[in-house]
């Protein structure tokens, strides 16, 4: 399917889910800039303010020739970028479309009340299983934080996952425009680290895809 036909079927819907401070807004801004560079229209709904202090946050990104509101209808998310796996499932449960792509960081951020034993734990294996039961198509689970520590540093985890997302067939934008948007969005002192992690994420996604195709 070409990018053009994808856009004609209504907007492409992406959700970026994580915990306050992980950089969901930054990731969505990079995608938005890449989208308008490619001539698309874009609308993003974000969580700001006191709601973001360590709490659940998510950005809804819609890309297309014409986009009205920024809110994605239930069951219509084509690609889910999970910066934190519990939060990925929280949004995936309501929004995942059949055969949607999922990029999943396996590094869990355990909620306070779970640490205190006041509510049950949710293990990464369960999260992956539930996402598959929801009809996820391509699902790439990776310890993105560990990988980022070896690439541009732990604070570039969001960027590494963004890079991995670029390797997905359903993602309608090219890696080049994401990289160029990254250059335009990042503060100079963090740019080199971000570019290293962005590239590492994409390489990893492509490598996994190759292995899967050869098997």
């Amino acid at each position: 399917m070409t990018r053009e036909t994808k856009a004609k079927q209504g907007p492409f819907n992406l959700i970026i889910a994580g915990v306050g401070g992980q950089g969901t807004i930054f990731a969505s801004q990079v995608v938005a800039r890449a989208a308008i560079e490619e001539g698309f229209s874009v609308r993003i709904a974000e969580t700001y303010g006191v709601t973001q202090r360590g709490g659940p946050v998510y950005s809804q990104v819609r890309i297309g020739r014409q986009v009205y509101g920024p809110l994605i209808p239930k069951g219509c998310c084509h690609l889910l970028l999970g910066l934190e796996p519990i939060e990925a499932l929280r949004r995936g449960a309501d929004y995942l479309a059949p055969r949607a792509g999922v990029v999943l960081n396996t590094h869990v951020s355990v909620p306070l009340e779970t640490q205190l034993g006041k509510q049950p734990d949710l293990r990464i294996e369960t999260i992956e299983r539930q996402l598959r039961k929801l009809g996820a198509g391509e699902l790439l689970a990776m310890d993105a934080r560990a990988m980022a520590e070896e690439a541009g540093g732990a604070t570039t985890t969001n960027v590494l996952l963004l890079g991995a997302m670029c390797g997905f067939d359903v993602f309608p934008l090219s890696y080049n425009s994401v990289e160029s948007a990254m250059r335009a969005t990042t503060r100079p002192r963090f740019l080199e680290a971000n570019l290293v992690s962005l590239d590492r994420g994409r390489e990893y996604a492509l490598a996994v895809k190759n292995v899967n195709q050869n098997n």
Partner: protein
């Protein structure tokens, strides 16, 4: 950042902006010369953007102490003949309402625009009040944009309209628009810069009010005609459709998308309403003349639905009006597209039972049940204080001081700000929270009526300056034995670190006015200032103050951990857990709850500290009963 875009004089360029930035750009295009406001999610970025642009375009932009002061200041600017704007969140207009109700009666000079960003569902607020009613209540013209381009355009045109009618104009926006990023086109700059010139030959007051009241009603009638020139209201129909879908402001997006999802484009008439007050009755009648059913989509209350229903009385034919009031859409909460799709499908089924509708536009029953089942598995994630936050240290110290003093049933009165999270675990210590500054007056009466219990009021620095000062004056004058803890992190933190009169980090020449100086001037007999992260000393000071029988204030002061200077400061230490000493008692999580505390990877229930999340504040050392937390010095980076 986006400064180049905001200052760019290249009309027609397509750019990426936040809704709030689009409103700021509209004000810039209008040649605004004076802007002020008080920070409040979801409106804050409008002022922040204008403050950034101001030095480059030579206009005045600064935060005010509260919304009333801001409103009154913008009034002075308008009286001086320049275009002025005042910006606030929905509840901020309550604070400025007295001024609003007076200014509306005065023939203003420079265009005066009031920006109110409403917060449907109260995503960052205590309520979801619908400020369109303020426009109706005050009798003032008001408009609301449906998208980014219109946000920019309306912010700009509001000044012209205000000057033409010589009355303030309200621009109503909502969170979803203000915090939406997207593409839009830049407009042209208005080059009519004016020299401030206060006309002292006339009297700027509504008194006596009857003639101004009469004139205001005349202005509102004129406003209806003026608005028609701007085409804020758009009718899309053939004049024969039986169903009409109406969207107010931003909610029009949901109306359009619902029509498209159900494949009804061309079969139903669409009406976009951009004018709030007065309602555009001519265009509403154009729709009512041919439809038999209308679905009204709007955030938050049935303001437009009621208005259309009143208009439909004049049509001698039954027309059913559906919306939030009729029960077709939920009575409370932000508009959700799926609800609009389902309400519109119901209207279609009622009007033409034979019309087939696509079956896959809403979640199937099975898929919805699966979603509910999974949501039950997912743990709650409560918001909490950031790593390095001074409020955590203060609440911890208060908890310990109350234990040490043997006070078991204190009344702890909260206020508005980040420290409101004291309602939640691990502290769960606050018992009341209403409006800005309310902790002062409320604790005064609680102490008077519950003399056997210790009353403690916590109030943040910005909230104290905003509306806490008069209440403190009352506590002082009544000599009420309330312990006030001023949780002073030196900025308006919850909205993103805006400065206020106590912000000592300011580099300009403004005088800093510390809270303790005000308390002493108000004759509070016991005032102490403590660094929040010096927890032992803070506990001692609180213990001492808790047993006093006079008004007392402890200023617990430490810069916000996210304050720009703090955020990027190099950490010199990180906290670590000595695995040999940790016995997994979880006291650190139960009593302190820093997000940097994580389970150790050994799987034996011991704790560790995430070196990335640790802010290096070193305050947590005190909380471990085993003394297992130690500090590791970091090598300076090259």
């Amino acid at each position: 950042m986006r400064k180049e875009v905001l200052l760019s004089d290249a009309p027609g360029t397509r750019v990426l902006l936040l809704g709030n930035e689009a409103i700021a750009r509209g004000a810039i295009e209008a040649g605004v010369q004076f802007v002020t406001g008080y920070p409040g999610t979801p409106s804050t970025e409008i002022m922040e953007t204008l403050i950034e642009a101001a030095p480059h375009l030579d206009f005045v932009a600064h935060w005010s102490v509260n919304e009333k002061v801001a409103f009154d200041a913008a009034t002075g600017a308008s009286f001086s003949g320049v275009r002025s704007m005042v910006i606030m969140k929905h509840v901020g207009l309550n604070v400025a309402a007295d001024s609003l109700q007076q200014l509306k009666l005065i023939d203003i000079a420079g265009g005066f625009v009031i920006v109110s960003v409403d917060d449907p569902s109260g995503l960052s607020s205590n309520n979801e009040q619908d400020n369109r009613w303020y426009a109706k209540f005050a009798g003032l013209p008001a408009i609301e944009p449906a998208d980014l381009n219109e946000a920019r355009e309306m912010a700009k045109r509001a000044f012209e309209i205000s000057e033409e009618l010589r009355t303030p104009v309200i621009l109503r926006s909502v969170t979803r628009l203000g915090h939406m990023t997207g593409d839009l086109e830049l407009g042209e700059f208005d080059r009519n810069r004016r020299e401030p010139n206060f006309d002292g030959t006339r009297q700027w007051t509504p008194f006596p009010c009857l003639e101004p009241e009469r004139r205001l009603r005349e202005k509102l009638r004129q406003a209806g005609e003026v608005f028609e020139r701007y085409e804020f209201d758009v009718y899309q129909g053939m004049g024969s459709e039986k169903i009409g879908v109406v969207g107010a402001g931003f909610a029009f997006n949901y109306a359009q998308e619902a029509v498209d999802r159900l494949g009804l484009r061309g079969e139903v008439a669409l009406l976009k309403i951009g004018t709030v007050n007065p309602l555009p009755n001519r265009i509403i009648h154009r729709l009512l003349n041919h439809v038999s059913q209308v679905l009204v989509v709007e955030d938050v209350t049935p303001f437009l639905e009621e208005g259309i229903k009143a208009e439909a009385q004049g049509i001698h034919r039954p027309i059913q009006i559906h919306g939030r009031k009729s029960g077709a859409l939920p009575e409370v909460g932000e508009t959700i597209l799926d609800d609009v799709v389902s309400a519109l499908a119901d209207v279609v089924r009622q009007e033409s039972p034979d019309r087939a509708l696509p079956s896959d536009v809403l979640l199937s029953k099975g898929r919805a049940e699966q979603s509910t089942a999974i949501q039950k598995l997912i743990p709650r994630r409560q918001i909490g204080f950031c790593a390095g936050c001074s409020h955590r240290a203060t609440y911890y110290a208060l908890t310990k001081a109350l234990q040490n003093a043997g006070i078991k049933d204190p009344i702890v009165v909260g206020d508005i700000g980040c420290y409101t999270l004291g309602f939640y675990p691990p502290f769960s210590i606050l018992q009341t929270m209403t409006s800005m500054g309310a902790s002062m007056g409320t604790s005064d009466a609680l102490a008077q009526l519950n003399p056997s219990r210790k009353v403690i009021a916590v109030i943040g620095d910005s909230t104290f300056y905003h509306a806490g000062m008069p209440g403190l004056l009352q506590i002082a004058q009544q000599q009420r034995p309330v312990l006030i803890i001023a949780m002073d992190n030196s900025v308006t933190a919850s909205t993103g670190q805006q400065p206020h009169p106590g912000t000592w980090q300011l580099t300009d020449e403004r005088t800093v006015i510390p809270i303790e100086d005000i308390a002493r001037a108000f004759q509070i007999p016991h005032v102490r200032v403590v660094r929040s992260l010096q927890i032992k000393r803070l506990i001692r000071e609180l213990e001492e103050a808790l047993v006093l029988d006079v008004p007392a204030m402890i200023v617990s002061r430490q810069a916000c951990a996210l304050e720009p200077g703090e955020r990027w400061r190099e950490r010199t230490v990180v906290a670590k857990v000595d695995a040999a000493k940790c016995d997994g008692c979880l006291a650190c999580v139960e009593e302190y709850g820093c997000p940097a505390f994580v389970a150790a990877e050994d799987g034996e229930g011991k704790m560790a500290i995430d070196p990335v999340l640790c802010n290096g504040c070193a305050s947590c050392k005190i909380v471990c009963p085993q003394g297992a937390i130690y500090l590791e010095r970091l090598e300076p980076e090259e």
